[in-house]
């Protein structure tokens, strides 16, 4: 177990202070942290699907809401690689390019709905990869398939 702990910590995918607080809760209730991450994984999969659907419909407001929603859970679990991308989705959905992201696609008019959809797609791509690697690391840690 200490090895696994170290491994997860070194992956840099989770904020360690937050995570250690979570697993300390297992002392009162065995499997608490794991179930929490399981809940999160389900929530992410579902929300990603919903984001995809709303990208199709270019429903920016809804996308922003979904970004905000997932940002909260990811941040609560110390999964900052995911929460930071969700924050991007939240802001782009409100047509706010808060991090001055440059889209390398000259066919798309800046500030058009398509432009924001493209920015969100970029953030979603990163969120997905952050999620995949975090999930893998957590699977290793919990020795289970979340």
């Amino acid at each position: 177990m200490p090895d696994k702990k170290q491994q997860l910590q070194e992956s840099g995918l989770v904020e360690w202070p937050v995570f250690s607080e979570l697993i300390a809760m297992d002392e009162d209730e065995e499997g608490f942290s794991k179930s929490l991450f399981k809940t999160f994984v389900d929530q992410v999969l579902e929300t990603f699907d919903e984001i995809d659907e709303n990208l199709e419909e270019k429903n920016l407001d809804k996308l922003s809401g979904l970004g905000h929603y997932l940002k909260g859970s990811a941040a609560a679990l110390g999964l900052n690689k995911i929460s930071s991308q969700c924050e991007r989705i939240q802001n782009y959905g409100h047509k706010n390019n808060f991090d001055n992201f440059e889209l390398n696609n000259e066919d798309i008019v800046i500030d058009s709905d398509d432009y924001w959809v493209e920015l969100i797609k970029d953030a979603l791509k990163h969120a997905r990869s952050g999620f995949d690697s975090s999930r893998k690391a957590l699977n290793d840690y919990f020795d289970d398939d979340l």
Binding site: S20, E21, L22, F32, S35, L36, G72, S73
Partner: protein, 478 residues
């Protein structure tokens, strides 16, 4: 009546004797002095006087002789004594010797060196002949364009003033409408839930009586309105067999962690297919864990040594030491906390923290539920998320504040920009807990608002937060 008073009251006709004309005498006196001739003087003929430099006149001479520096009121007063502005036609203007900006006034009895005639100048009676014409005569001949502009402006101003008050009225109407709509929604919602529960009972009775029931479109009012996977914490959990189990349910039942089920005796175990009717549909589930003693003071300190957890555990320990004080000062040692949050992960985590600190926890997942729940139960503290389905936390709080001003309501939010914070406080939030928060953060808020009236307990923490408290109070005042 002395001159000072007269001057100050010169616009007030009722305070003035109609015969007295001190103003005119002072005016005469002033004009007899030669040293003002570049500013104000008799005209050549001596039958009128002219203010050549209105700026200097207003700045220097008015204060000296009339104890004010308001040219307009000087002109008004002249009008009251039936002086008239001499109109200079546009043609005459070119050759007018006193310049474009000069104001020439005339009264038939007001002549140079003729002091006796002054007595014939009387203040006009309080018959407001023609307010528009008095405006005309004060600015009339100056510049027709200016007059028109002035009129347009003043019309616009009047219009805007009316518009503004109309809009304000409308806002107030909308506000009260909004409030009654929200109130009605809450009522309708709880009614709906009661119907739902009654029908559930009815269905189960029928089923137990061996009736075969058709497939019914029978949505749970709590689940129907919310799309997100948060229904586990909804007060009403039982589905009649006729309705399809939702995805959330499958997940909940398959997951190892089934908080509601383990924590609420009202909920049937997942394995049982026979649903138990729930008459208490509007009653949220107290997620009080049996393993934790439900008092703040006895939150179990454990022996793990990880540093991030060090301080809350110590604090809890402090409280344990002062446990007797706690129980004497608080009649009911259970702190009952209402958690209003739509995110399942946050719910589980926050509830866990709260239970660990010995609080009894009730969870609802939207603003409307929060309102009806606070209406029906007394809570020691409410933790309120902002962004939620149905009704946001800020609005819910302002509605709650219309009937409950005391219960501390803490905004849990990721938006910690100053404007947002001020808005939350204006909505009646007692404090703010920035998301994501640690156990320590939560503990600080709890101790501040639940133990704040007990200086014996957790002194350090109370002092530490005094500063912030004052800052928040200040913000609220602003």
């Amino acid at each position: 009546m002395n001159e000072d008073q007269l001057d100050h009251l010169h616009t007030n006709a009722s305070s003035n004797q109609s015969g007295s004309n001190d103003f005119v005498k002072k005016l005469f006196q002033m004009l007899q002095q030669d040293n003002y001739k570049n500013i104000v003087r008799w005209t050549k003929n001596g039958d009128s006087f002219v203010v050549i430099d209105t700026n200097e006149f207003t700045k220097d001479i008015l204060p000296r002789h009339f104890k004010h520096s308001n040219f307009a009121s000087f002109v008004r007063q002249l009008n009251k004594y039936d002086f008239h502005k001499v109109k200079i036609s546009n043609d005459a203007k070119k050759s007018y010797e006193y310049g474009d900006d000069a104001w020439e006034f005339k009264h038939p009895e007001f002549r140079i060196n003729d002091r006796n005639a002054l007595d014939n100048i009387k203040r006009k009676g309080p018959n407001p002949k023609k307010p528009p014409s008095s405006a005309d005569s004060s600015v009339g001949g100056a510049n027709p364009e200016l007059v028109t502009n002035y009129k347009i402006l003043s019309d616009n101003f009047e219009y805007l003033k009316k518009e503004n008050s109309r809009i304000n009225q409308e806002i107030n109407i909308l506000k009260s409408k909004n409030k009654s709509i929200v109130d009605n929604l809450v009522v309708v919602k709880s009614l709906n839930e009661r119907y739902y529960n009654s029908i559930t009972i009815l269905l189960n009775t029928l089923r137990q009586g061996g009736m075969k029931l058709p497939h019914l479109d029978f949505p749970n009012p709590n689940e129907d309105m919310i799309k997100q996977p948060i229904q586990q914490s909804q007060p009403v959990e039982v589905h009649p067999p006729t309705s399809q189990p939702t995805r959330e349910h499958k997940r909940q039942y398959s997951s190892n962690f089934t908080p509601i089920i383990t924590q609420s005796p009202q909920i049937p175990p997942p394995s049982t297919s026979q649903p138990v009717p729930q008459p208490s549909g509007t009653t949220p589930i107290p997620a009080n864990q049996s393993s934790a003693n439900p008092t703040f003071a006895t939150g179990t300190p454990n022996s793990n040594d990880q540093s991030p957890l060090e301080s809350p555990r110590n604090s809890v320990h402090d409280l344990t030491a002062n446990g007797s004080v706690l129980s004497t000062n608080i009649p009911n040692p259970k702190f009952h906390v209402l958690l209003v949050e739509d995110d399942n992960v946050c719910i589980q985590l926050c509830r866990k923290f709260l239970v660990k600190y010995g609080c009894q926890v009730t969870v609802v997942t939207d603003g409307l539920n929060a309102i009806s729940t606070v209406e029906n139960h007394k809570y020691d503290l409410v933790l309120m998320d902002i962004v939620m389905p149905n009704l946001d936390g800020a609005t819910a709080t302002s509605v709650i504040r219309s009937f409950d001003t005391k219960t501390p309501i803490i905004a849990m939010t990721g938006n910690i920009e100053e404007n947002d914070l001020v808005t939350y406080l204006q909505n009646g939030m007692s404090d703010i807990l920035a998301k994501p928060f640690t156990k320590d953060d939560l503990y600080s808020i709890l101790s501040k608002h639940l133990l704040g009236n007990e200086p014996v307990n957790a002194v350090g923490i109370n002092n530490e937060f005094l500063g912030e408290d004052q800052v928040l109070k200040k913000q609220r005042l602003e």
